[in-house]
Each structure stands twice: as structure tokens, then as C-alpha cells.
Symmetry: C2
Amino acid sequence: MSSITSVTRAPRLSDEVARQLTAAIRAGEYAPGARLPSEKELAERFEVSRVVVREAMSRLKSDELVDTRQGLGAFVSAEPGRGLFRLEPDPAIVKDLHDIFQLRVAVEGAAAGLAAVRANRSELAAMRACLREMKISVAGRQDDIEADNRFHATIARASRNPYFDRFLTFLGANLHGAIAKARFNTAARHPTSVLAVQAEHEAVFAAIERRDASAAEAAMRSHLSAAMERLGLGPFAGARS
Amino acid sequence: MSSITSVTRAPRLSDEVARQLTAAIRAGEYAPGARLPSEKELAERFEVSRVVVREAMSRLKSDELVDTRQGLGAFVSAEPGRGLFRLEPDPAIVKDLHDIFQLRVAVEGAAAGLAAVRANRSELAAMRACLREMKISVAGRQDDIEADNRFHATIARASRNPYFDRFLTFLGANLHGAIAKARFNTAARHPTSVLAVQAEHEAVFAAIERRDASAAEAAMRSHLSAAMERLGLGPFAGARS
DNA sequence: GCTCTCCCACTTGTATGATAACCGGTCAAC
DNA sequence: GTTGACCGGTTATCATACAAGTGGGAGAGC
């Protein structure tokens, strides 16, 4: 085993200043509406130049944490961090992964319910096409992740609620890396699960096709809950009793 | 009617540069992984100083749209805007309001289901206290928005999933202003709804207290769906059939 | 004493020029 | 062929200056 490791690069000063200011505001050190110290004073306090402070402030402004007015100063927003929902990059902790996935189960379940009511003919056809593709892969004992993702994305789109769509895309992008890793780790232990997955997908689609919102939601939740277990994340605790 | 209106303040240059760069990246003008023009070149192109460009870049970095490396340049992220979910401030359009509220119904319903399984004694007590407070207000034909919000927040917390909690707080903050406005507009038309609201809240709590996840979820959805209708947003289309 | 105006100190916004740190490539030296 | 010094280009940081906006206080005018 070699002790060689990638070196830790010195973090940018503006990153660090932004981090500390964000933390201070979130901790309530500066109440909403309160005025922050001037850029000059912050620069002295952090022992950096004003440019660095300004770049940090620029990020806080973009996060709607503060609002600045020329000649007056910088003020903490009335509702800090209101227009923004952030997820830590690459949630490595299993607990976090479980919780985020749980959120996805809830939202995508509801999306499937809506899709059952609202999906049009072309969207149903798209889902059917994905199922066909996956079935071919299943015959070869393989999974087709690409068609899988497309199937789920089509359902999200068919909910006809762009916020469901966007939020699921967002969650998907954040879970993607972690899922791939978990899939790799547990692949050997569940060699036959591709058949189960295919059956679950078909159950979801069948419910959507017959316009049964309640069944579609239940089927999607059941599918995703099973997926959670396959990934070693434990079950969706609050599922239908 | 006076023609006096608030003056339009000249936007900050860094805001404008950040806006244009963001748009360009989102439009795919710079593909993921591609290198952006150097700060010097961007400064010349936008006819601003390098400071302005750097402040704009600082925001793009914070949004995880680009990644910079000293000596190399700025590169578009592999998955632009991955760690970030944004909502437009003050969604005025009823359609958007409906869609966002629908998302909330789905998530908060699931949260109630989880709370039924996981809520501890102190959380149940907190919910009970909120109900009592609201009941007092109901007797005086008034609603107690503060206790109402606290009731919902307690359920979110009792889901024991911080992501549900945070996301609902986030949605709540974004809906708050619009809800207040809608409430004001429709208050006169629904003078007796406070009684209905109280009954709905009690149904939610009763289900949570007897640990019935399915009933808690249904009750919460029914409550929020009714709330949507009271606000003139139309029903939650994909509700349990 | 009251009011109005002007001025000043302070703050943020922008520009400029300089230096340090860093990167990839070139090319001579060995 | 490998090494290592060097170079041009890029980001990171700094110092300084000036423009523009704000609020308050000094002081004139009444």
C-alpha cells in the first residue's frame, strides 16, 4: 500500500470568507434585516483585500442571503436563503442517501399518480418503448440504465407539472453518482433482480395506462422502495401500511 | 391615480454579466467541460473591468455552473446546476402557484405518513398544543396563522427526515407571500372555513397519534387539497381516486 | 427656535495596474 | 530519453483610486 495521496489544494480565500459569512448568518449572528459590517471592516477582520470580500458577498447576494445598496451597506435578507434549495455534493453518508432517496420516493410516487391522470398518447408510447428496450436487455441478463432513466423521466414529464419534473431531475442528478457506486457494490449479491425490476416497471406502466392514479402511485412507491433495498439503503419506512 | 412609481435603479454590472453567462451556459453555448474565454477576454467583450467579471464568475462557481483552476481557466461543470434547486421569486402566475402547491401536497403528505411512524411524545405534545391554540382562535371566528404554521412545521420535523423538513420550509417560504395575498382576496368568500380547517387539522393529528401512516398521509393531502381550493388554486388533480 | 441647504464622512460600485501562484508546453543540456 | 530551466498565458490576490449613492450634521437664513 502506498502512502501517496492527492495533495490538498489551498482553498480560495473568497470561498472561505463566503463560508464563514454564510454560517454566521444562518446561525442568526446577524438577524434578518440587520446590517453587516462594511466591506472595509470585513476585509480587515478576515485579513484579506476588499476584492475577496466583494467576491464572497457576490455569492451571498446570488444566494439571496444578503442584499446590498450602494451608499448604505449590506443587509441580511428578510428570509435568508428563501429562493434556494441546496444539496451537499456527493452525499456519502448512507443516512443522507436514504433520506434523499425517501424524498424522491414521495415525489416520484405522486408524479406517477399525476401521470396516470394526465399522460397523453405520445407519452404512453414513449414509456412503452422504454419498457420494450429494457425487456430486451433483461433477456440478456443485463440492465439498461439509460432506458430506465428515460422511463422515469417520461413519467415525470407526463405529470405535466414542471416543478415535479425539475425537482426529480435535480434529485436524480444528485443521487446518480451514489446510486452507481451502490449498484456496483451490491451487484454481485442480487444477480436476478433485473427480472423483479422489469416486473415493477410494468406494474407502474399498467396502472398509468388504465388511468388508475392511486395504483400508479402505489406501484411507483413500491418499485422505488424495492430499489432502495436493493441498493442497501433500507426500506421506505413510511410506506402504505 | 398618481403616475408616481418607484424608479428603476441601474442594475449592477456584475448582475448583468452573471445573468448573460448563466444564460449562455444553460443554452448550451458552452458545452459541459468546455473552457470559457479568459477573464481578460470576457472583460473586453462585456466592456467592463476584470473585477466585474470575477464577481460574476464567483456567483457561477457558487451555483456550480463553472469550475475554475488557477493557471488553466474556467470550465463549465459536468452537470451544470446540479447541486441547486431554484424557484423564481414571488410566483405570481396562478398556474405556477398551483404546481408548486401541488408539490408541497405530495411532500407534506408523505411527511405526515412518516411522522405517524416516527413522532415521539414531545412532538405529539407540540402538535396537540398547536391544535389547542387554534381551537381558541376558532372560537373567536379567527384563524391563528402562526400556530397553523407551527403545526405543519412540527409534523415536518417529526418525519425525522431533515430533507423533508428543509424542503417544506423552503417551499413554505416561497409560497408564504402568495398565500397571504390569496387568503386576503378570498377571505370574504369563505367566512366559515375556519371550522373546516380545524376539523382537517384534527383528522391529521388523530391519524398520526394512532400511528396510522396511510390515514395520516391521506388526511394531510385532503387538508392541503382543500386549502388549495380555498385559495382559489383548484384541486389537487392526482389525489387518491 | 425652526427650517432649509450644503457639505462631509461613509459605503458600495467600478476601474486600473501590479504581483504571486499556477499550468502547459518548448527546448536546450546532459 | 529524461531532466530541468524558462516562457507565455491564466487565475488569485492585493493596493489604490475614483464614481455614485446615502444619511446626518453644521451652519446659514429666517
